[in-house]
Assembly symmetry: C2
Homo-oligomer: 501 residues x 2
């Protein structure tokens, strides 16, 4: 037992309480809060955020951390405590160098910028957003500049905030591989798009029946309704207060069967991660996923690799047909599986199929890299976007709303975030390759037995929270570090079969 | 502009933020939080409560308040600021004298006591709860003892926490009047109970139709859905984050048409109060109702005086019949009005009709008074309860669950709270008598025009928040202080007509 750590604990608990409250306000805002509440409620959330910062970033905590890093103190720390100190150091590294008045000005800017982005997207008018985007980029460069090491790229600093295991070099290798293998594959697939008919997906599907079936699906995957809830929001998301309160949302669209179904599988993947974090870690700085990419690997493993497989649907498909006999009675399970895996290059990332998805990420990654190396002219980003879109996806946006303005992230200053989505897909493939090795996973899926998979993920990933990083987890499971070959092979194998290439 | 007040403001804002967060957790807990969340979430709420206390009760704030009470400072304060200081002084008076370790021990005790009460009520076993109740009463006596003035009763201190305008003397006069006039009236009515048939109320009423009709009713009364929401919970309640986010809940029962309908009218009465508090007061210590009793006057004015009147239902009843033609097509509006006003002595306060309701309060008031004067033997409370129940209502509970154990309040240490319910009904009658004088209210109701009533209440009560107390409000509206005659006359008049006495 470290006395110094015990002195630190009340600060951590307080920060946890403020962060949890902020999360609850976020949940509430996205799910139920009345329209006019925001202006007054934001004052509350602002104060909670300030208090969160103040109780973590202050001289007392700074001294305690410094002391805890001494050899003598380290000896007395448990692994969990060491991981907590490491997380805290990361937070200090990210925030401490930024002068508070600049941080506040930046946060105020993003509020305005986000509104400008909303309007610009609605009006399909990039020029309206460009001045805000320029200012945001200036701030991000400045902030990264405070922390950048000699010879390091600014963009590297930003990437590091989301994934400690993936820098520019790793991502360049990863994405080059994708470009080389997937771009030509997607072109072949696009030419054979007509061979798969999925009109059934766009018939009318009663919303209450969708709610009921998707709730069933969520429980089928192992979501524990005593420790979580499902609500509705404009965009599906997962949010947790702690490991005994994990919440997901969904959005039901009458003329789209797939949309809510694969959203719920995706969010349940995130939720199972948070629900299975060890009780001893929840409500601490390491009581969450190892990284954004690791989290996304769990949602995508469930959504794509498991959720779009025939084996998974064998015990489920009859129930789905019984729910909507008028639409599905003539659609065989094989038709349905072909339908949910149909790939077709489109302009919108969030609607992209599994095959084109990583190409959407590459467009963003390459543009972000150019922005922070100074190679990109911000006024000319739409042209840059459109040309990359044509190059990788073979199509060109007709306007900025379906091009450069489609994602919200930049309006909040989130640069370096997108690659995690693709990392997640690749990590999922690498892990799944191991699962196939250690258990008869297809048989389990066919029997409707999800427990062995869930327990494998719990025991090798979830329960550790953020006490291990992505590469440590991958090493412990697969005995190798991140390896994108599994992902490329998975996609090639799947789509070559599906389209008889 | 007072500089001293400006120095105080950040403390108030912080306290407001913590209190708002606590409110949101309360809302969430009652409406959506998953079953197992409580244990972990209570840690968060505990920290927020501690922080709330710490930022209000400390030497800096103490000094500022002391300074602000000086004559020179008072001159610079606006009325709103003076009212805020007054509220703060009340909080100090209530909390400062209690040693923090006793306060904490008491809060821990109430958590356990509440669980014991739940079990005792379920098992109809007062003896299980008695030891906890004794301890709670000891604490309450001790805490009141720290603040009691010479010659003052302990119970007077507790009453003052809820209503600054009503002490034992006032309540004795009030309740004696009720006993004298209402107890005999209720006996007459009970003998003629068979003359009103309300079987229609207990037929099957589709829950979704109830939800829809009650939402309509809520909007009809003036609830602004841009600034509020309706959800569901085990017991209906109203909660606000600020005046632009006011929330009510309802509970729908399939075999009871009235239950949800009069609940929504009641809660909308509370909600209109909070929604109409002035923007300049919300998120300050005076940004809420003047008192518990004043709040309850608004909910009861809408629920009972307006909501159970024929004039109110004239423009609405057809819609209700159209919603449930199978049950209501043969029930005339007059039948319906008789049904919703039917009085029948029962054992449960929360299910009581308008006429017997105050008698339920008198039972509790008299017992609480005896507890704190030392006249009551805690082990013998069930007998005391039952004899008073027989005396005032003419019936005796068969077990403790429908007697002494029915209400949750004492398990939380809330003594002195019940009288506010009856004060609310009486204040409502006094205010309504004035409304009848100043506007053709029945005509408005018949036309479906609720606006003049709503605006009257907004302009004479709601907008002031807690900057005026109950008697100031009553004086300004009715040119007299609290006068229970209006209430007694209202009840006598209404029930003598209804039962042809």
């Amino acid at each position: 037992m470290s006395k110094t750590f015990d002195t630190l604990k009340p600060y951590l608990d307080k920060a946890m309480a403020f962060a949890t409250a902020r999360n609850l306000f976020e949940w509430d805002d996205q799910t139920i809060a009345p329209y006019e509440a925001a202006e007054y409620t934001s004052k509350v959330v602002g104060i909670l955020s300030d208090e969160y910062m103040k109780c973590l970033i202050n001289d007392d905590v700074r001294k305690l951390i410094k002391k805890l890093k001494e050899d003598k103190e380290q000896e007395e720390l448990t692994d969990k405590e060491k991981a907590i100190i490491k997380e805290l150091c990361k937070t200090y590294e990210q925030l401490e160098s930024i002068p508070p008045e600049e941080y506040r000005a930046f946060n105020e800017l993003t509020l305005v910028a986000n509104r400008a982005w909303t309007k610009a997207k609605k009006d399909k008018d990039y020029e309206h957003f460009a001045p805000y985007l320029k200012k945001i980029i200036e701030y991000k460069k400045k902030f990264a500049g405070y922390r950048v090491k000699k010879g390091q790229e600014l963009y590297e600093v930003l990437l590091g905030d989301f994934e400690e295991c993936f820098g520019i070099k790793d991502l360049d290798i990863f994405f080059d591989k994708i470009k080389k293998e997937i771009v030509p594959l997607l072109k072949q697939v696009a030419n054979k798009s007509d061979t798969i008919d999925k009109n059934y997906n766009f018939l009318k599907y009663d919303l209450d029946k969708q709610r009921e079936f998707n709730r069933f699906l969520c429980g089928y995957l192992g979501f524990d309704f005593n420790r979580g809830v499902i609500a509705e929001s404009a965009h599906p998301f997962t949010l947790n207060l702690h490991n005994h309160d994990v919440r997901i949302t969904n959005k039901y669209i009458e003329n789209n069967l797939e949309s809510a179904m694969f959203s719920v599988i995706h969010e349940t993947g995130h939720a199972l991660y948070e629900m299975n974090i060890d009780d001893s870690l929840t409500q601490t700085p390491v009581g969450t996923g190892a990284s954004m990419g690791m989290h996304e690997s769990q949602s995508r493993l469930y959504e794509n690799i498991i959720g779009r497989s025939k084996a998974f649907w064998i015990p489920l498909y009859d129930k789905l047909v019984e729910t909507y006999p008028e639409n599905l009675k003539n659609i065989s399970l094989d038709d349905f599986i072909r339908g949910v895996n149909k790939a077709e290059p489109g302009l919108i990332r969030t609607e992209a199929d599994e095959l084109s998805y990583p190409l959407h990420i590459i467009i963003r990654y390459e543009i972000e890299k150019m922005i922070f190396s100074g190679e990109a002219d911000i006024d000319k980003l739409p042209e840059l976007w459109n040309s990359k879109c044509q190059e990788y996806l073979g199509i060109t946006p007709e306007n900025d709303a379906e091009g450069i303005l489609q994602d919200i992230h930049w309006s909040f200053g989130e640069f370096g975030y997108f690659p995690s989505y693709a990392i997640g897909s690749a990590v999922a493939s690498q892990i799944y390759a191991k699962i196939v090795e250690v258990m008869p996973v297809e048989d389990y899926l066919k029997e409707g037995n999800l427990t062995p998979i869930r327990e494998f993920l719990r025991d090798s990933i979830h329960k550790y929270g953020a006490t291990k990083n992505t590469n440590q987890i991958l090493m412990d499971i697969t005995q190798e570090e991140f390896n994108a070959d599994y992902y490329v092979n998975y996609l090639k194998d799947k789509y070559e079969k599906l389209y008889n290439l």
